[in-house]
């Protein structure tokens, strides 16, 4: 709470992504002008042309690394950032584009591009933390704007952000929602997924599909077993764990357990 003499400088960087996480910052309609008053938004090309070069107190990084050039670029950004926070499933787990990690990227390119030789891409989509040290990872596909504001404010204040790593279930119950898995038999990834979204899927009568990635101590195998009892087949289980956070280790391992050759059902 000690006022800082110079306004801290914020930069927002984009790697392979849908732009949604950085848009969350512009979606903070109520806070945006306060944020702009408290910090110097020095680099945010989605929102402004101006560029202040040099070092940044806080860099928010969206997106995953999918090109050799990006792998270089993130090193430079790290070197120029005092605190580097990754935002969103792409930056923290490789994102939906990490589905290529389970396939041959050349096939992928050939299927979309007649001249795939010109496509500059790596065989994998990887989280930022695979390339440089990251100070804090904010999960979600997309991040929650409440948590985004909290993360920015907390880093400026030197506080630990209130971004618990526990399950979506806790959030679900704090809200007083009905468990869709227990009361409807709808498979739900909430028990193995990190809180933060506000349990919006159960709030809309559907199971969580894991867009915040694995919670702190996920027991994916036990949940998968339960989902199987509720009627999910092997392919469905594989796909359930292989989506927006497919490359997060706990989800990757669980999805691989349901690959054709590995299924133990």
């Amino acid at each position: 709470m000690t006022p800082t003499p110079r306004k801290p400088r914020l930069a927002v960087w984009k790697f392979a992504s849908c732009d949604g996480c950085q848009l969350s910052l512009l979606d903070c309609e109520d806070e945006l002008l306060d944020i702009a008053a408290a910090i110097d938004i020095a680099y945010f090309p989605e929102a402004a042309r101006g560029v202040i070069r040099g070092r940044y107190d806080l860099s928010l990084v969206e997106g995953s690394v999918t090109t050799a050039h990006d792998a270089e670029r993130i090193r430079d950004i790290r070197a120029r950032s005092r605190v580097l926070v990754t935002i969103g499933a792409c930056a923290t787990a490789g994102g939906i584009q990490a589905l290529r990690n389970f396939a041959d990227v050349r096939d992928y390119a050939a299927a979309v591009y007649p001249d795939p030789a010109h496509i500059d891409t790596l065989a994998t989509s990887t989280p930022i933390a695979d390339h440089v040290p990251v100070d804090f990872e904010l999960r979600g596909c997309p991040v929650s704007k409440r948590q985004l504001v909290e993360t920015i404010a907390a880093h400026l204040a030197g506080r630990r952000p209130v971004v618990p790593a526990h399950s979506v279930c806790i959030e679900c119950k704090l809200r007083g929602l009905t468990c869709v898995m227990v009361a409807r038999g709808t498979p739900c990834l909430g028990p193995v997924t990190q809180a933060g979204c506000g349990a919006i899927c159960p709030a809309h009568d559907r199971g969580c599909y894991g867009c915040f990635g694995p919670m702190e101590t996920p027991n994916a195998a036990a949940l998968a077993e339960r989902a199987r009892e509720l009627g999910l087949g092997q392919d469905e289980l594989r796909r359930a764990f292989r989506s927006f956070n497919a490359a997060a280790p706990a989800f990757r391992e669980e999805s691989e357990r349901h690959d054709d050759q590995n299924d133990q059902g």
């Binding site: 709470m1 000690t2 204040a157 030197g158 506080r159 630990r160």
Partner: protein
Amino acid sequence: MDQMAEPRMAHPLVPRVAHVRRRWRDGPDVWTLEIEDGAGSGFMPGQFNMLTVFGVGEVPISLSGDPADGNRIRHTVRAVGPVTRALARLRPGDPLGLRGPFGTGWPTDALDGRDVVIVAGGLGLAPLRPAILQLLARRDRIGRLTLVYGARSPDQILFARQQDRWGRRSDIEVAVTVDHATSPWRGYVGVVTTLIPRAVSDPANTVALVCGPEIMMRFAAAALTDAGLPETAIHLSMERNMKCAVGLCGHCQFGADFLCRDGPVFRLDRIARRLALREI
């Protein structure tokens, strides 16, 4: 519900505002804050306060000053995480939130006529210092007084100058050991437990006060029992996560005990079984 107490005006989780009077460094990443606490009402050695840095958070920190010193209270903090770092950055005049004192203290009142061995590891000396100061103030009432202190390395020794001063006194024996020696160090090297046998001359009449990392306390307790002290004569100060310090939040449970209320200082016979259990 008529038998229920009237709700108190003050919520026990609401801090009062106090101000830093002085601040000095007491080791690498370790700072002592002297705090002006208008509402200060004294404390027992071994007790702790909940300190809030506004906008950052609240943590339990032991009282490390002299219990005789009225409303000027001291806390010695190692900057390890967000709140302790923010505490360590506070300057004279800065406000902070304060609740306490809480917890059981060292049984300093019950030591008349006994030998006292104080075993401290690292920052564990902070909550023991008030006990030492109090015992020194009534030195004539107790028998042999020994401080056995272990630090990671010579530069990590807490309250080094004060320890030197104590070391020069004749009424307290001070033995310091380090895990890793650096060049000018000519003292002991090794774990603190190796010094314990020497500190105990009359085990049946000795009381031990122990504070340090949990693993060190386990070994110290074993060494003290080996030296012949009964479990009832060994007192340990434990550490657990704490949010409320008044027995409401549940975090600090250590078996059946709430550390904030039933501890942090426990007699070994009460916790010996738990101390041996992992992840309890």
